[in-house]
């Protein structure tokens, strides 16, 4: 990707992934790293915690693939509700565009699972192997007992975390409590094991081993996100005019009087970067906008007694001394589209009837004469209660004079999420039933839940 600002050309592309040098990100503290840590705690807390949350006697979030039903708190979604998922994905994609246009790669820096789990794995690495310098020294050191202990300790913790992550992930698709019981009693079938191991392997490989290489070589979003950028997008940028010419100087010396800019070329911004780039080369697609370089540079500027913000969140317009416009056409269009999709989703969910009625005519006979002067038609009614509560229903008929429901009379109970097929018989006097009549069957809940569905059918009598 070409750099958007007229800064020095970016570094030559790194080698292919097997040959890429290992990156040892230096630990950093500051506004953005605290924000990222908070995001890690909240997001992983949600992921590991929500699987165990119950709602009305069932798991609150359960995408029950074996039963082909999604439970989302009080809502139960069936395969025929795929439209909701589609709308939700559209909202998610548009939101990604909106926030990228507004403030760059917020997703990458704070919310992407790759970032979040990598952060967690790096914490473990720092805990077992120490700081950046200690880790580099350890990797160069010969294999002795201390190194073996630290390295194997890290691997054990990583693998345990990866396995627990895989288990939690599968716990969103099969009930997590019975999954745990089956694992502990070693009675889990082969396919759940396959998914647990696949997701564990993905977590371990992506967060422990591949890390920034996922962002640099594997992520499609990293390559096209710049299409959402414009000159008013907030990006992390090095203020070249203020920083150059860079160079070391005595503490306390006034930069301009010794012919230098504010950058002391301490390379802290490079050392803390999890993707190993130099932000001073300008905007690069490897930058995941984590803000570590801002935190590092601010600390250095504080020590040097110069103003913070040599590396900061800014816009291309602001860097050039021009005005930044936040409310611009692109953002307004994204916002309108998001609102429309969210509105449609909300409307459809609120007006959703958790009940389905299918009416099938009896294939054996068009009609049957009963009691000498009456005509009977037979049907099969297929009823599905899509709700997660049991309901009682009553069938009624309309649309034809003299039409009477013979069966089913009374209430039809349906357990939550169940399908029931029952035989229905309708009768009408012979003199009123000649020919084909359009009728309507109505299935309505009688317990005050208000659900009702109507289905068209035909009633056929002898030719007049």
């Amino acid at each position: 990707m070409a750099s958007a600002t007229p800064l020095p050309p970016s570094a030559p592309p790194a080698g292919f992934y097997a040959a890429a040098a290992k990156i040892y990100p230096r630990e950093v503290d500051g506004r953005f790293s605290r924000l990222r840590k908070a995001a890690v705690v909240v997001l992983l807390g949600l992921f590991y915690g929500f699987a165990w949350l119950d709602w009305n006697g069932h798991q609150a979030l359960l995408f029950d693939l074996p039963a082909r039903k999604f439970h989302i708190f009080g809502l139960t979604l069936w395969p025929q509700d795929f439209l909701y998922l589609t709308l939700l994905l559209i909202v998610a994609a548009l939101s990604l565009f909106f926030f990228t246009a507004l403030a760059g790669r917020l997703w990458c820096g704070y919310a992407c699972p790759q970032t979040v789990w990598t952060e967690l794995f790096v914490w473990i690495e720092q805990w077992t192997e120490g700081s950046r310098l200690q880790r580099m020294k350890l990797d160069r050191a010969p294999w002795r007992a201390a190194k073996l202990l630290r390295k194997s300790g890290k691997q054990v913790l990583w693998l345990t975390l990866a396995l627990f992550t895989g288990f939690t992930f599968v716990g969103y698709f099969t009930p997590i409590r019975s999954l745990a019981a089956q694992i502990l009693s070693l009675s889990l079938g082969p396919w759940p094991w396959f998914w647990v191991f696949l997701y564990s392997l993905a977590t371990y490989g992506n967060a422990g081993f591949l890390r920034e290489q996922v962002c640099k070589y594997m992520c499609p979003y990293a390559r096209f996100q710049s299409a959402m950028f414009d000159k008013d997008t907030l990006i992390i940028s090095y203020d070249e005019q203020r920083g150059e010419p860079r160079g070391a100087r005595r503490r306390g010396s006034v930069a301009r009087s010794v012919g230098l800019g504010d950058c002391i070329d301490c390379t802290m911004c490079v050392q803390v970067c999890p993707t190993g780039i130099d932000i001073r080369h300008g905007l690069q697609y490897e930058c995941i906008a984590c803000g570590a370089c801002i935190d590092a540079c601010d600390q250095v500027m504080d020590k040097m007694g110069t103003a913070r913000g040599l590396i900061r969140y800014t816009t291309e317009h602001a860097l050039r001394g021009e005005r930044t416009r936040i409310a611009r056409t692109r953002l307004v269009v994204y916002a309108v589209l998001i609102s429309a999709a969210l509105g449609a989703l909300t409307f459809l969910l609120l007006t959703r009837t958790p009940l389905i009625l299918d009416v099938l005519r009896d294939r054996n006979a068009l009609y049957r004469e009963v009691h000498g002067d009456r005509i009977e038609n037979a049907y099969t009614l297929k009823m599905i209660n899509l709700d997660d509560q049991p309901h009682r229903y009553r069938v009624t008929v309309s649309g034809m004079r003299g039409l009477e429901l013979i069966a089913p009379v009374g209430e039809v109970p349906l357990p939550p999420g169940s399908v029931n097929s029952i035989a229905a018989r309708l009768e009408a006097p012979r003199e009123l039933s000649g020919g084909v009549h359009r009728i309507v069957l109505t299935l309505a809940a009688v317990d005050g839940s208000g659900s009702a569905v109507h289905e068209n059918a035909r009633f056929i009598g002898p030719k007049p």
Binding site: P13, F16, Y17, A18, L65, P66, R68, P79, F82, L85, T174, G189, W191, P192, F194, W195, Y217, M218, P220
Partner: protein
């Protein structure tokens, strides 16, 4: 042709994994694997729904990986000059 490199393996497996996820989601939202099993040959008799999802996913992954592999193979075995002509802006 040079030997197969780590990057080639990643370029084949990773995009096809993403494609297989999307394909599985769409396909199994519309089709119940149990219905497919009952309608199909006796080969799949005895498999449950979870096995159906897993096999379906692996099938999609395999198909997409085959397509990716052919793409990578064609790019890697092309003459250097035609590759340069095809991709003028290549870094």
């Amino acid at each position: 042709m040079r030997g197969v490199r780590g990057l080639d393996v990643a370029l084949v497996l990773w995009p096809s994994f993403l494609a297989a996820c999307a394909a599985s989601l769409l396909f199994f939202a519309a089709v119940d694997p149990v219905v497919l099993r009952d309608a199909g040959p006796r080969l799949f008799a005895g498999l449950d729904r979870e096995a159906g999802y897993a096999l379906g996913f692996l099938f999609f992954w395999g198909s997409a990986a085959l397509a990716s592999a052919i793409s990578v193979y064609l790019i890697r075995t092309a003459r250097a000059e035609s590759r340069a002509a095809d991709v003028p802006g290549e870094r």
